[in-house]
């Protein structure tokens, strides 16, 4: 991903919108008793599009904003979400993504891991209580919901970041580069004639 000031602004706007949507909309929804983790989906998709470093930085920023907005312990969400962004980015750097199924599956798996990570960190930090077994099933449902949410979110965020994507931008640059070259070849050929 080629980062310009304009793309950084877009990334910032996407993260801010994702956090606001999470705390004011998605956290209110109960689907099979569980709220979808929208921020995890957005961070994962950005990691899948931008690579490990961009994914990790976006995850850190989104986590920090989430903890500030909810007045929760700073660093918990950052740690989990930067891992999500990094792992999604590593997947993109290691494998070719040729359909929307792969990003959705990766996002679903990462949401499951993120839910387990959040739960473990929160229980380790300041909750001295017994844990219900439904935490496991709830984490699986969160993973499934993230899988479904990734289907519309991946093309949507890819569209928003299209000018910065190396693979998406390559054909356009190639055509601008080849056009003068082909014209030159034609003119050279004409001169010989």
């Amino acid at each position: 991903m080629i980062l310009t000031r304009w793309i950084n602004l877009r990334l910032g706007a996407i993260v801010l919108a994702a956090v606001l949507l999470q705390v004011t909309f998605f956290s209110y929804l109960l689907i099979f008793g569980v709220s979808p983790d929208f921020v995890v989906v957005v961070v994962s998709v950005i990691g899948l599009l931008g690579g490990a470093v961009i994914g990790a930085v976006t995850g850190f920023a989104a986590g920090l904003l989430l903890d500030v907005a909810l007045l929760e312990t700073l660093g918990v969400s950052s740690l989990v979400l930067l891992s999500v962004g990094y792992l999604a980015g590593r997947y993109r750097e290691s494998f070719e993504i040729d359909s929307v199924f792969a990003p959705a599956a990766v996002t679903g798996a990462l949401a499951l891991l993120a839910s387990a990570g959040f739960t473990t960190l929160q229980l380790t930090l300041d909750v001295d209580t017994s844990v219900s077994g439904s935490v496991v099933t709830d984490s699986i449902v969160k993973g499934l919901l993230a899988f479904l949410l990734a289907y519309p979110m991946y093309p949507l965020i890819r569209r928003a970041l299209r000018p910065a994507l190396v693979l998406e931008g390559a054909p356009a640059r190639q055509s601008t580069r080849t056009a003068p070259a082909s014209r030159m070849r034609r003119s050279v050929a004409g001169g010989v004639r």
Partner: protein, 282 residues
């Protein structure tokens, strides 16, 4: 870069967790949350119609099976209403004798501040909501929060324009309660991580019998000798006992179904001020 971010997160986490409420990280967090609060209020209001539409579908689906249950519940509530009206008449007479304000809905001496729920955490463990009232409205940490149906929780963080409310379904929150019968047994009600639907009440004694459908209210105790007191005023409805069982130990564990539907919480009242409580108003 990655190592730097991980180390940064861990430093933030340990520093924020160990520092006092007045520490620099908390101050910066509250200042930033104050800036975000108007955005959250606008986003919350803008998305409310969509949430309502989804809720409508959800409730219509659920209502099909609830009709019979509600008829049985209505019959039971009528019986309870008759009992409550008798008690209310007696209460009004006593209040008249003591010259108290009859129109005050909040517990005596408390100033209720009405606030809208604007944010909610997506966590499976922690159960907190954000409300659009803060220190500028007189809200302070440890103020009790109620809704029309009963106890919601208590204030745990305050900015000038917003506050964080820890719900009673948050496992970090333990509430001193009493079973609502004369000289009812007292105990602590708390939630299990990952199961916000039910609360567990641990009663300190195994001698007092409790039964299903008995109500549980806040105990609101205060002990000037130890300078300790409950954060909650007395006699706020918490829930109804749904499963009681005797135990071979010195305490009983019973299940309590909270009265408040936390998923549909849109407005709350924060009980500010109130009489001095040892260990709280300092």
């Amino acid at each position: 870069m990655l190592v730097g971010l991980i180390v940064g997160s861990l430093i933030l986490l340990s520093a924020h967790f160990s520092e006092a409420e007045s520490g620099p990280l908390h101050v910066i967090q509250r200042a930033t949350a104050t800036v975000l609060s108007p955005l959250e209020t606008v986003a919350n209001a803008a998305l409310k119609p969509v949430r309502d539409l989804i809720d409508w579908f959800d409730e219509t689906w659920e209502a099909r099976g609830e009709n019979e249950d509600l008829k049985e519940e209505l019959a039971e509530v009528r019986t309870r209403l008759a009992e409550a009206e008798t008690a209310n008449a007696e209460n009004e007479d006593l209040r008249g004798l003591l010259d108290l304000d009859k129109d005050e809905l909040a517990p005596y001496g408390f100033e209720p501040v009405t606030a809208r729920v604007i944010t909610r955490t997506p966590s499976l463990v922690n159960a907190t909501v954000g409300v659009n009232a803060g220190s500028a409205d007189g809200v302070e940490v440890d103020d009790a929060v109620v809704a029309a149906d009963g106890l919601v929780g208590r204030v745990t963080q305050v900015t000038s324009t917003s506050a964080q409310v820890q719900l009673i379904t948050d496992p970090r929150n333990g509430v001193s309660v009493a079973v609502a019968v004369p000289d009812g047994p007292q105990g602590i009600v708390s939630a299990t991580a990952g199961d916000p639907e039910e609360l567990t009440l641990e009663i300190f004694s195994n001698d007092d019998e409790v039964s299903d459908d008995q109500y549980v209210v806040t105990a609101g105790w205060a002990d000037p000798a130890t300078e300790l007191s409950s954060a909650y005023p007395p006699n706020i409805a918490v829930g109804a006992i749904t499963e009681s069982s005797s135990s071979e130990f010195d305490f009983q564990q019973v299940t309590v179904d909270p009265f408040v539907n936390f998923q549909e919480l849109t407005h709350v009242q924060i009980l500010t001020g109130g009489p001095e409580r040892p260990g709280i108003d300092e």
